[in-house]
């Protein structure tokens, strides 16, 4: 089936099998390997991307379901090669990552969270990232990074 969608601002048209998952479309058809597969069972959030600005787990969406829609992956977040997105910058400044495997999904889930709730409390951030697992950081620095990206004071 032919699908046409926008990925990171670029129009894409592809002929795909209906059973192709969005995450496999992004990684293997488009070569956008920034989106990771962690659990493959809709639990870990490593595969999180934005569809029309909202976080979704791309291992649980068919590519054909994204036909006509606007998909953003981690590769499409930064405004330019020189400049990071404020959320990426905050993760870097606050050590919100160690191995980095969960990071693309974590960053996109956080971007979606702030779009819905621009001034979250710490609890809002923790609940808002419920769908993303991190095996390294213990979450504290991720939460700090998201609060900082929302323009809030965070203790060092």
């Amino acid at each position: 089936m032919e699908i046409s969608l926008t990925v990171n601002g670029e129009a894409r048209t592809s002929d795909v099998e209906p059973r192709l998952l969005l995450v496999h479309y992004l990684r293997t058809v488009l070569g956008l390997t920034g989106t990771n597969v962690g659990c493959d069972t809709s639990s870990c959030g490593a595969c999180t991307v934005l569809i029309d600005g909202e976080s979704v787990k791309s291992c649980t969406v068919l590519a054909v379901q994204a036909d006509g829609l606007d998909v953003t992956t981690i590769e499409g977040l930064a405004p330019s090669a020189e400049e990071m997105h404020p959320m990426q910058q905050a993760f870097r400044e606050h050590h919100g990552l160690q191995c980095g495997y969960c990071t693309p999904g974590m960053v996109l889930a956080a971007v979606s969270l702030l779009a819905e709730n621009p001034s979250p409390t710490e609890r809002d951030v923790r609940l808002g990232l419920e769908g993303n697992l991190c095996r390294c950081t213990g979450y504290h620095n991720i939460v700090k990074a998201v609060l900082a990206a929302a323009g809030q004071q965070v203790s060092p």
Partner: protein
């Protein structure tokens, strides 16, 4: 994990969805948010040969004020339920429970119609719709019919929907300021309820994961209507239930949890 191959059809209307269901019969499945169906298909526990995507029927995504009741389109996503101002004011139990379904990513995709049609006893919202005495509005080739929530869940993952029918709307009473409570017991963030309770004052008590279907706590409702205290009513919470054991909990633990959670629900709701 990759689902088995299937044909994909996009239904431009409810009429077309039902036509396609009649045409393909048992081999076809509707696809709404896909957050129950796709995980099953990836595990090959479901292998429909045709998927009929109704996910784009945006005219079935609404929350409408209809006098004494609220009408909710079947394609309304959990995220909309949790944030809708009318639901927050007039049916806070549903809005609150919806905010406890899975995680934000799941709530951006999953729909009310999907979770009800799936009929999983572990799901949160069937118990809520049962507690509220909701009504399901169903469309099919033989026209439109209404089924009370109490008659809708007929067996494990089975509902009153015929294979060529689609759930199009759910009707719920406005509860305004009446007492309510939603208790979901789990061990980790994001998990399904090990046991859960939905209580709506003046309507009913719904139980999550206490049997093969979403169910009402009839014994508790009877006790309350004959004037029992919260503690006495909660003591009979496991009567008439049939929970199963799994890695999370034994039958005994679930029966115990039902009593504890019903008591907490009744106390929180001011009974």
């Amino acid at each position: 994990m990759i689902p088995a191959a299937f044909d994909y059809k996009r239904a431009p209307s409810v009429y077309d969805a039902c036509e396609l269901l009649s045409q393909y019969g048992d081999d076809a499945k509707l696809l709404a948010g896909g957050h129950s169906l796709l995980p099953l298909m990836k595990l090959r526990l479901a292998t429909p040969s045709v998927l009929i995507d109704v996910g784009r029927l945006t005219n079935l995504s609404y929350v409408l004020d209809a006098g004494d009741e609220i009408q909710i389109g079947a394609l309304t996503r959990h995220h909309t339920l949790e944030t809708d101002p009318l639901l927050k004011a007039e049916c806070p139990l549903l809005a609150h429970a919806a905010s406890h379904v899975g995680d934000p990513q799941v709530r951006h995709r999953g729909t009310l119609g999907g979770t009800l049609a799936h009929g999983d006893p572990a799901s949160d919202l069937p118990a809520v719709v049962l507690a509220l005495n909701g009504t399901m509005v169903i469309r099919g080739p033989r026209g439109q019919r209404e089924v009370a929530a109490t008659d809708f869940f007929t067996g494990f993952l089975e509902t009153a929907l015929e294979p060529d029918e689609m759930l199009i709307q759910v009707r719920l009473p406005k509860t305004g300021g009446a007492g309510w409570s939603f208790q979901k017991f789990n061990r980790r963030a994001q998990d399904w309820a090990i046991v859960g309770v939905a209580y709506a004052h003046g309507h009913g008590v719904g139980l999550i994961n206490m049997g093969p279907t979403p169910m009402r706590a009839s014994a508790v409702e009877q006790a309350l209507s004959s004037g029992a205290s919260a503690a006495d009513a909660a003591a009979v919470a496991a009567e008439g239930t049939d929970p199963s054991a799994d890695l999370n909990a034994s039958v005994e633990f679930r029966r115990h949890l039902a009593q504890v959670l019903v008591r907490r629900a009744l106390v929180e709701a001011g009974v």
